[in-house]
């Protein structure tokens, strides 16, 4: 299948896998939640250097499946992208996200409001599985960049069925603002806060 070929063709920065690495190093100590929590710091440190988190759940106490690293550390298929800022094109068009959608909204309401910027190629108006009402967001696909851009410019902050909706691109060509504290090097950054002196 074409998929398999794509997967092989696109590499994936191994450095970005740091969130997954903790499996290999987690020691098993089910007896004490504090000890177990102390063995989890890699995920924590990968995304923050701030105060320790309140942890909860069996996942901190049980033996971690070593397969987890393999599952998520391989090559992932993505569309070609230069990694720069700005929206990313999807395979057949441009996808925007509408949030703040009224729980009783119908597809027609979105068609009417967003159809004027261009033909809607796809519309996902997902439901809350518990209530059966609209979950609160919609994903809309336009064929052309200009259509999507116009929809965002015209509808973001606007009103739909008495509620204010926000409209933005769904996909991006690269990561958004990396936090300073994601740097894993011990010399990578220094806290400005005096409280963090050791």
């Amino acid at each position: 299948m074409a998929n398999a070929a794509d997967v092989d063709a696109l590499d994936f920065e191994p450095d970005d896998d740091d969130l997954m690495d903790e499996d290999a190093t987690v020691d098993v100590d089910a007896s004490s939640p504090t000890t177990a929590a102390a063995h989890i710091p890699k995920l924590k440190s990968a995304i923050t250097s701030s105060a320790p988190k309140k942890t909860k759940g069996r996942g901190f106490r049980e033996e971690t499946d070593p397969g987890r690293t393999n599952r998520m550390s391989g090559r992932f298929d993505s569309l070609d992208s230069d990694g720069g800022p700005g929206p990313e094109r999807s395979i057949e068009g441009w996808i925007i996200l509408v949030t703040g959608v009224h729980e009783e909204a119908q597809e027609d309401d979105l068609q009417n409001a967003f159809g004027e910027f261009g033909e809607i190629k796809n519309l996902h108006l997902n439901l809350d599985r518990r209530t059966g009402f609209v979950k609160g967001y919609a994903l809309i696909e336009y064929e052309n960049y200009e259509e999507a851009e116009k929809a965002i410019a015209s509808m973001d902050g606007g009103e739909l069925l008495t509620q204010t909706v926000n409209v933005d691109w769904a996909f991006s060509r690269g990561p958004f603002k990396r936090r300073n504290d994601r740097r894993r090097s011990p010399h990578g950054h220094r806290s400005r806060s005096p409280r963090r002196r050791f």
Partner: protein
Amino acid sequence: MAEEENGGGAAAGEFYLRYYVGHKGKFGHEFLEFEFRPDGKLRYANNSNYKNDTMIRKEVFLTPSVLKECRRIVSDSEIMKEDDNNWPEPDRVGRQELEIVMGNEHISFTTSKIGSLMDVQTSKDPEGLRIFYYLVQDLKCFVFSLISLHFKIKPI
């Protein structure tokens, strides 16, 4: 709606979410896993050895707006208040894992597969497990929409 500025809210603080469901059986290790990373990267992996044995692995960067909506869904569910202590343990039939970092809280819940609401009702913590059950469905629904729209594949 979702509180915008505090740590548990939709906008502030860091956010990471990973969900896994799978089992090992006749067709090997079959699973579905996705994660939302703090930098906006969404990763999706689905390995089913039944019929075709291809592993689907996709990744794409999301805008902050999409990540914020994901947080809103998590936040509104109030899953962070729950605990998996009294949930069914993972078993031969399967295993689910839900790991979320939001604000200064970090949960890592595991439980068995949940076939239906009947399993929820007969469990020792029906209220907590129901929240988990519906949140997982809402998250899957969100992720499947994103992945299928972007890559034009049927995620399941």
